[in-house]
């Protein structure tokens, strides 16, 4: 995998739970359905990318945040748990789609060029571990 794409997919782990294109939900109760800490595993199925990486992300009031502010990404989870992810850097991008349900989530991701693609899974984690 070309090195320029590595950052994108490194960030994609965090991005996997980022929602693009959703408006902020107005229902505060529904907004918190997926609040908490999530551990996201990015798996590469095609292309010369890292085989797997695990990252921590947080969801607060349906806003998706990086585990420790290391990744400057943002987004929202829809009330139904749908996810659409876009990560961009220097004109290059990767996208992911998927869904959260209960304490788990899963989806797919790919580069905009199709050079790498794979799947992601997520599991809710305790607040302290």
């Amino acid at each position: 995998m070309s090195h320029f794409l590595r950052p994108i997919f490194a960030a994609a782990f965090a991005a996997a739970l980022l929602v693009a294109g959703y408006s902020a939900p107005s229902d505060a109760a529904a907004a918190g359905a997926y609040d908490g800490n999530w551990s996201v595993v990015i798996n590469t199925r095609r292309g010369d990318c890292d085989r797997s990486l695990r990252y921590s992300v947080r969801i607060v009031n349906n806003q998706v945040l990086p585990g420790e502010q290391s990744y400057r990404v943002g987004g929202r989870v829809s009330p139904s748990g749908e996810i659409r992810v876009v990560v961009a850097e220097a004109g290059r991008s990767a996208s992911g789609i998927g869904r959260l349900a209960g304490n788990n989530g899963r989806g797919q991701w790919r580069t905009s060029t199709g050079q790498c693609a794979g799947s992601w899974t997520a599991v809710r984690r305790p607040n302290n571990w």
Partner: protein, 440 residues
């Protein structure tokens, strides 16, 4: 208030840098030298490139960065202070024979088995432990697997040591542990506690699943039969290596012993800074405190005997019948144009230091064996193995290295009776050398 906010900003900034460096270091320190530490590099680059992420790119759907929210990192409790004198006599409550200082010749002698026999020494090496796992499985297949009287392990060598010590019926678990794991099973970025770059809870959970009551019972039985399983950690407070008598811990039994057993394995493979240290509760003269334990490789890439006994000037004879050393790390230098980026520089530096230390230690073990009048046997990763790893803990890479070890174990000469040659100049330099010679 302003000061507080400034500190918060600085803290977040620092955490970002730490997060970047963390995955890189963790991956690099767990991986053999010279491999592409893609996971860490990727994460590091992702973080460092964050100011360049443009809002509105990618079909204009990117949301701006969210406002900071409370961090998930919990406050680490303050440490109970203790003195070097207290630490010198500290012990595990209820398991007094759980450990000894690696520089204590007396304690070492007392912990050794009463019967002589073959010793197996398992080195550090991160993901390259797949080689050792494959080698041992191959020895089983060839009918050459011995019941080692003593097994010692450092870092990844520590992680595989319990299975090898417990016997060949654990070969399949060993194979799975070294061919079916990935980076996601070892560490998580973005949730560090401030004492390391990444969080190692995945490895902690993985170890806990591997150390079953059945395995503990088998290790305890072997210990009672007189065999010994030693794992080395580094007591970072004391800057001294510590040897853990894992058979004695297993023989103690109970939840506390199992928890300690797992903590020791995790500590032995936890490169400081990359992974969190393991805090181990001890007691000294009625005072309770916790010691900070990290990767055993800091004190040497494998352990045979206290350093003073291994010295070239020592007259000590190892009470073993044969010495087998499995080197789980490549010994060849790996060329790389190093980025002007601290984690990358550290990665390359450590990647060089570990094989150099390992190679020197092989010489020392060879001399100790010769002095003791016992056979010396060393297995190293063939220099012909040069498959690249797609990031940290690439299952395909580890599977290929396991197979290499397996074939070597099955082969006619799985071990060499002499240390391997020191790395020669890369082949690409040979023509230049010849030209120079000719010009002279």
């Amino acid at each position: 208030m302003l000061v507080f906010r400034m500190n918060s900003v600085i803290s977040l900034r620092m955490r970002s840098v730490i997060g970047a460096a963390g995955a890189l270091l963790a991956a690099s320190l767990l991986l053999p030298s010279g491999l592409p530490y893609a996971a860490g590099v990727a994460h590091a680059q992702a973080v460092t490139s964050q100011p360049r992420v443009k809002r509105g790119t990618a079909a204009g759907t990117m949301k701006p960065a969210p406002s900071p929210a409370p961090s998930t990192s919990k406050e680490l409790p303050p440490r109970v202070p203790f003195t070097t004198a207290e630490d010198a006599v500290a012990a595990i409550p209820g398991i007094p024979d759980a450990r000894f200082w690696a520089d204590s010749e007396t304690d070492y002698a007392n912990a050794l088995p009463s019967q002589s026999g073959p010793w197996l020494i398992l080195s550090s090496g991160g993901a390259d432990g797949a080689f050792g796992a494959g080698l041992m499985t191959g020895l089983t297949a060839a009918g050459k697997r011995l019941d080692y009287q003593v097994v010692t392990g450092v870092s990844t060598g520590a992680l595989m040591a319990p299975f090898i010590f417990a016997g060949s019926r654990y070969d399949e678990k060993l194979r799975k542990a070294y061919t079916q794991v990935s980076a996601a099973d070892v560490f998580e970025a973005g949730s560090s506690t401030g004492e390391s770059f990444v969080n190692s809870w995945p490895l902690r959970d993985f170890i806990a699943k591997q150390i079953t009551p059945e395995l503990m019972a088998d290790i305890a039985a072997a210990h009672r039969a007189g065999r010994r399983l030693f794992v080395v950690t580094t007591n970072l407070d004391a800057e001294r290596s510590m040897v853990w008598n894992m058979g004695a811990i297993a023989a103690h039994g109970g939840e506390q012993a199992t928890k300690l057993f797992c903590s020791v394995l995790l500590a032995s493979a936890s490169v400081p800074g990359g992974f969190p240290p393991a805090m181990i509760d001890v007691e000294a003269n009625g005072k309770h405190f916790a010691e900070m334990h990290v990767d055993g490789g800091l004190g040497g890439q494998f352990f045979v005997a206290p350093a003073a006994l291994m010295a070239a000037t020592s007259q000590y004879h190892l009470p073993a019948s044969e010495l087998y050393v499995v080197v789980n790390t490549g010994l060849q230098p790996n060329f790389k144009v190093v980025d002007r980026f601290a984690p990358t520089i550290l990665t390359q530096a450590i990647g060089m230091a570990v094989p150099v230390d390992t190679r020197l230690m092989i010489d020392r073990a060879y001399l100790a064996a010769k002095r003791s009048g016992i056979t010396f046997n060393v297995a190293t990763i063939p220099t012909s193995f040069n498959m690249p790893s797609a990031g940290a803990f690439d299952p395909k890479y580890m599977g290929a290295l396991f197979k290499t070890g397996l074939e070597q174990g099955r082969g006619a000469n799985p071990f060499s009776d002499q240390p391997p040659p020191y790395p020669a100049a890369p082949a690409s330099q040979q023509p230049n050398r010849i030209e120079k010679t000719g010009a002279n």
